[in-house]
Symmetry: C3
């Protein structure tokens, strides 16, 4: 899509400075942009790149305006405005309403006339697909699933477990929503499956990454709050609840029945054990092992530093001696105190 | 499904106490249950909830019977009985035998007349699908695969590598069984693929979680013992063997040729390196890094505690100094011993 | 495939010793091999198995030749020769060119006449499929994708994001290439998606494991160098670059914009945070947490040792006291020095 600088500024609700008719056709970084492209200065520390940019216009904060020698869009938050400008210049690919002839739609499904169902989908009985929703090729929605309006399921997504997705959700390829939770009762050493009969609820504007899995609840629902963003390869176990606008990076796993607060930011490869409570506004750095509830907002971490294997081996051995080392220090302190008194 | 209390008790092989004709239509927790629903008291510590439950009946141990004011099913293991009652009240969704017209079945495949093959499946030559097996939509079984009777593959499952699945297996959506193992020989800095020609064997009653991957063996088979339960997003490398009735939680990875014993319980996000042996009856807590074999049953762990990032940074730095700290303690002890003798 | 010893030796470019007409029909380990099978001795430490092997021939280094009592193929690197022999004896399963009638091919796609498109694929507009490429059942290539010649996509692979795959790539089932990167701008506590408009480039001879995910770049491309081998369940975030011939084991996650060098070997379950640089020739052991750039080749590690939970708990508590322990040691040293001077 091509837009003039004036029209872009108007759509983005910000002022511009320069040639109103300058035609913008794309977005790129300051270093990579060519003529016709829009760039952005997200932080003043990159001001040096402004002098050399070949961008036709730059989204910039008022305080950096003087350093910009090309057309400018003045924004209080240039990074946020870049996100919005990109959406205007690269609108999401939307099919007009219809059903691909190879898709299988159950008679007892309700697909809005404006929704698109792509090739080789299976839409089972009791499935409701809202207005303008886009169901990518190879998706399977078994039965009694609700997809909100303007939601987009990319290819090969599987939705089971009576899941309900809000409006404007985006589900990346290979994601599985509503698989059975991992619930078994022990019967003298063998496992008896506990049928998982709860559902899954995703609020509006939830994004689920590629190959991420979200289990249905055992009895009640697994609940993902509105605006939650989940990266790729995340595992959300049964009966987890995630508060609104929390973001979680890739490969993180959250065990059963744990409740995560609102507006949390959780790094990649984090493991959170089951039945915990994480407060609102908690940030957790990558690869942290969360084995107890976190009741106060703040920034939390665990883990050990990377070092050359030869050095690490020496420290690694000592980790098994830590408690003994602490006791030896205590004993030394006691002896030294005694010695000090005697001298 | 609706069953009377008397019929439920009879099917579950337990005694009941109360209205034999009370109709039970579902299962819920003590707090959430409404009239017509069955609940359970898995532990005496939740007895307080008994007084307020609106459940029509409760599965309960004899010792807690007196605290129950509604109909009761008396069970020696209420949680196990709850698992079985749930299966009776919510029978697995089974299609009657047949093949969806959009599925592609090779002439050289043998699909039992009582099995169901759903939409857009590919069942290749040499595939055998047993009685009452259910193959969900979008599944691909390339060739020379055997699926035991009463096994259920949910949607978008891929099975390659001459895999053989036992009876009553359940494979959640997106799982991949029989992908190539990660085997390469080095040729002066480039990698030459070692064709993976082994197979995969799953015993009876194995469950495989959503998006879990199990590689075929390099030469011989990868073997998953009967009754093994694998959660979501687990990676099982080539030639791994997992003993009967072992359960493994989500996101755990097991490297090539490692042998896991029977009746193990392995937490989530555990990493087990290759060519190890883990004894029967080993329990491993979440996020543990297993870098050596475990020869004795017991409960094993590794990892560091979560703390506020500011405090963690201080401790994190010290982990690289652990060996030096241990040497300094030893030196101090020597000096202090000498001093003590001199004073 | 069956080949005589002489023909095998000729194809592999190595000498043989024994019956030129001996027919070889398969490969197995020294212990498992039966008559007609070829085995290999990768390391002299397994020489003891040579005496008992029932293999009809063994690939062996010249230095071990005397210990071999059966036919021999003499190779400078027996393991590498085993890899190549296996490929000769078990050629990749290749369909002849064509399109399965259930596949959907857009009119604006270019599929080479020698390529094979299997059942229930969707090949969108602008997709180019090269000579002899094999696209497995259920694959979705949305649009503007290029697949190089002789590349093989196994079943249920999804490719989006204008991805370009080189020649001879192998993509295991369930892999997702070109999903949206995890990019959002914050707008007063809610997340605004940054449309991901970059692509993905895979060089020649790249292998991608089952259910591995590779995100498209935000603005420029995510780049996987030629000869890179990725195991299962790996997550590669947007704008990551991986140098040629690097191999990465399962469950590892690499956060956005990190650049990995050439000829690296990265273990399983490793987490590498974003915006780092890892030098060429770096080896990283399993489960390492890489939180800073690595500028020198070498072998790197982090992590804590597995031990009995009861002991681990005692050490685990001390990890929070490490900095204090270090300060106490320093204080002790100071006091002891003073005492030594006084005595």
């Amino acid at each position: 899509m091509a837009l003039t600088l004036e029209l872009l500024a108007s759509r983005l609700g910000c002022e511009f400075d320069g040639d109103a008719d300058c035609l913008i056709t794309g977005v790129a970084t300051l270093q990579a942009a060519v003529s016709g492209e829009l760039s952005f200065l997200a932080s003043s520390k990159y001001r040096a790149h402004l002098a050399e940019t070949k961008a036709s216009a730059v989204i910039i904060a008022a305080r950096d305006r003087d350093a910009c020698t090309v057309n400018a869009l003045i924004a209080s938050d240039p990074y946020l405005t870049y996100a919005r400008a990109t959406r205007l210049l690269y609108p999401a690919e939307i099919h007009s309403g219809g059903v691909h002839p190879s898709a299988v739609i159950d008679d007892a499904a309700q697909v809005d006339a404006t929704a698109w169902i792509d090739a080789h989908c299976l839409i089972g009985p009791g499935v409701i697909v809202g207005a303008n929703a886009q169901i990518g090729a190879g998706c399977v929605l078994d039965h009694d699933i609700t997809i909100g309006r303007d939601s987009r399921l990319m290819a090969n997504v599987t939705i089971h477990g009576h899941a309900t997705l809000g409006d404007r959700c985006v589900i990346q390829p290979g994601a599985v929503i509503g698989s059975d939770g991992f619930g078994y009762a022990s019967d003298r050493g063998t496992w008896v499956k506990i049928p998982q009969i709860g559902g899954v609820t995703l609020g509006d504007d939830v994004e689920v990454g590629a190959n991420t899995t979200i289990d249905r609840g055992a009895l009640s629902d697994t609940v993902i709050g509105k605006g939650v963003k989940l990266d790729n390869q995340i595992q959300i176990a049964h009966n987890v609840q995630i508060g609104e606008h929390t973001a979680i990076a890739g490969c993180t796993g959250i065990a059963g029945s744990t409740h995560i607060g609102k507006h949390c930011a959780i790094g990649g490869h984090v493991g959170i054990v089951g039945h915990l409570t994480i407060a609102d506004g908690v940030q957790i750095s990558a690869k942290t092992f969360v084995s107890q509830s976190i009741h106060e907002p703040g920034f939390y971490s665990s883990g050990t530093p990377v070092e050359l294997n030869a050095r690490w081996r020496k420290n690694f051995v000592r980790m098994k001696q830590l408690d003994k080392m602490a006791r030896r220090i205590k004993m030394l302190e006691k002896t030294v105190r005694k010695l000090s008194n005697e001298v």
